[in-house]
């Protein structure tokens, strides 16, 4: 399996609190992604990154921000968590690094189960 670590694996928090999820990779892959998975919706892209300090929005980015200050780390922040953000969050990476027109598949982390009460 690809070297992807998500932390924490489980978190319960209250509405209105800030939450940060971390994705750490050891593969030196260029692309990193944050998805949320909800029943009936499959996987929905929140944000993605195509390099250090280079990020862009996905289809469900409202209420989320990201940062990537190092190749290996991609952080997802919920500035003020709401109950609608209760979900399972997956990080994914895609490589190999810095080769254009790469046709490599994504590799996924184990997920973070986030409950907002």
């Amino acid at each position: 399996d690809a070297g992807i670590t998500q932390s924490p694996r489980h978190k319960v928090t209250e509405t209105g609190t800030p939450v940060t999820l971390r994705c750490h990779q050891t593969e030196n892959h260029r692309y990193m992604y944050w998805y949320r998975q909800d029943p009936g919706h499959g996987l929905r892209l929140i944000h993605y990154s195509y390099g250090v300090k280079d990020t862009d929005k996905g289809e469900v980015s409202d209420g989320y921000s990201v940062s990537r200050s190092k190749t290996e780390d991609f952080l997802l922040t919920l500035e003020s968590a709401t109950s609608s953000q209760t979900s399972v969050y997956f990080c994914a990476i895609r490589g190999p690094p810095y080769i254009e027109n790469s046709n490599q598949p994504q590799h996924f982390g184990d997920g973070t189960r986030l409950s907002i009460l």
Binding site: Y31, L43, Y48, G58, N101, P105, H107, F108, G109, D110
Partner: protein, 114 residues
């Protein structure tokens, strides 16, 4: 807009039955195609992929998929399912040589009864 349609949301089979899960994508150009599997409580794992060449691709655990360009389809098949194939299956594609943002279908939940 790019999209992936997985026609079967829930499939229930008995062991040894044959499986075919439908997947159609909406995009006018050349694509890379993927099937992922997610076992209960786990992350998504790659089952198989198609980039070019033989449109019939074989993946892990006896799965295969056939790309039919004229139908924009990439259906997943397995001749004889096992209880351990119980999982959620996702079809995805990305435009060839361009976007690195795959588009996923909503998934098909497969339950195999022993």
């Amino acid at each position: 807009a790019q999209s992936v349609s997985q026609h079967n949301h829930h499939v229930i089979l008995s062991e040894a039955a044959s499986l075919e899960l439908g997947c159609n994508y909406s995009y006018g150009g050349t694509v890379n195609l993927f099937w992922y599997v997610q076992y209960p409580g786990q992350h998504l794992q790659l089952l198989l992929k198609y980039f070019s060449g033989d449109p019939l691709v074989k993946g892990i655990k006896g799965f295969e998929a056939e790309f039919i360009k004229s139908k924009f389809s990439f259906n997943l098949r397995k001749p004889s399912v096992q209880w351990s194939d119980t999982a959620e299956y996702f079809c995805a594609f990305s435009p060839w040589g361009g976007s690195y943002i795959p588009t996923f279908g909503r998934g098909t939940s497969l339950i195999v009864h022993p």
